[in-house]
């Protein structure tokens, strides 16, 4: 099956209906495996038991950025190629990305209190992550404000492309500024600085969260296609009555 065939909403629905139960099953297995490893991981020599919060915090941070990354590619699809599923993909990604960005902020605060002695500091990494969350809320509000989906899609696509500037700022904030937040310890030149007993559970949990994101995104895209069909039929009904 080619991408252009999948671009047909009916074809996408057919594939999604078959794929979602399998994706859900694989996600559940990955979480069972990842949580088992995470609970068995030793305490960190500096962080102690709070390192277990990292198994949630790091994947959430990754998914918050992945969600906006998906929306950025979809925004190009909307504005440049006018791909029929691009704005569906963007709209479906926003609430999921927002939820994981919020989870990243919450788990970061809960880790920060015992480790830094505070729930929050106006550090470059934390602030840029908060800006990402606010951008998500802005784009969700925009989708809800403009009634016509195609007009809303174009406006949201422009906001998404502008907001994409925040992604490299989040990633490199710890290098560009003197921050309280630690510098990169997984994806960095020279390899990870984390010991395997903690790195492996972290990577498995990140994989499980990524699978969850894919499952939720496909399911949310299916819902959005159905919502647009309902809208079209209701408009047909209204025009028939008038």
């Amino acid at each position: 099956m080619t991408l252009s065939e999948l671009a047909n909403p009916s074809r996408f629905l057919s594939v999604a209906n078959r794929a979602i139960p399998w994706l859900g099953g694989v996600t559940a297995i990955a979480f069972a495996f990842g949580l088992n490893l995470a609970m068995g991981a030793p305490d960190d020599y500096q962080q102690g038991a709070t390192v277990k919060i990292m198994f949630l915090h790091v994947p959430s941070a990754w998914l918050g950025m992945l969600g906006w990354g998906v929306m950025t590619v979809a925004a190009l699809g909307t504005l440049v190629w006018r791909h029929p599923l691009a704005d569906v993909a963007a709209k479906a990604s926003a609430p999921i990305g927002a939820a994981f960005t919020l989870l990243c902020l919450v788990t970061g605060s809960l880790w920060g209190r015992p480790e830094w002695g505070t729930y929050w500091v106006w550090d470059a990494r934390l602030t840029s992550e908060l800006i990402l969350f606010l951008l998500y809320l802005g784009v969700i509000a925009l989708w809800r404000t403009v009634e016509d989906p195609s007009r809303a899609a174009r406006a949201a696509a422009i906001l998404t492309l502008v907001g994409a500037v925040d992604l490299p700022i989040i990633k490199f904030s710890v290098d560009w500024w003197n921050t309280l937040h630690q510098s990169a310890s997984v994806f960095r030149m020279g390899g990870p600085t984390i010991y395997p007993t903690i790195l492996i559970p972290l990577l498995v949990m990140t994989l499980a969260f990524t699978l969850l994101f894919v499952t939720l995104h496909v399911a949310a895209m299916r819902n959005e296609i159905l919502r647009r069909r309902v809208r079209t039929l209701r408009m047909m009904q209204a025009s028939a009555v008038s």
Binding site: L56, L103, V106, T107, A219, L226, R229
Partner: protein, 65 residues
């Protein structure tokens, strides 16, 4: 002792993650049911899309979740 002091923060984090994940799963599941119900209702009233009328498939009431 430190682990016990930090326990509320660890439990709080895992509870927050559970709430967020359960909320997202609940949101997509309930939304799917609502859209499917709305489509089935419109189909019962005889409203179908032109493409669906040309290539009739199973009605939404029978569509697999």
């Amino acid at each position: 002792m430190a682990a016990m002091n930090h326990l509320p923060f660890i439990v709080g984090s895992y509870t927050a993650a559970f709430v967020v994940v359960a909320g997202l799963i609940g949101w997509v599941t309930l939304d799917f049911r609502a859209q499917r119900r709305a489509l089935a209702d419109l189909e019962r009233r005889g409203l179908t899309r032109r493409s669906a009328a040309a290539h009739p498939g199973p009605p939404m009431t029978e569509a697999k979740a």
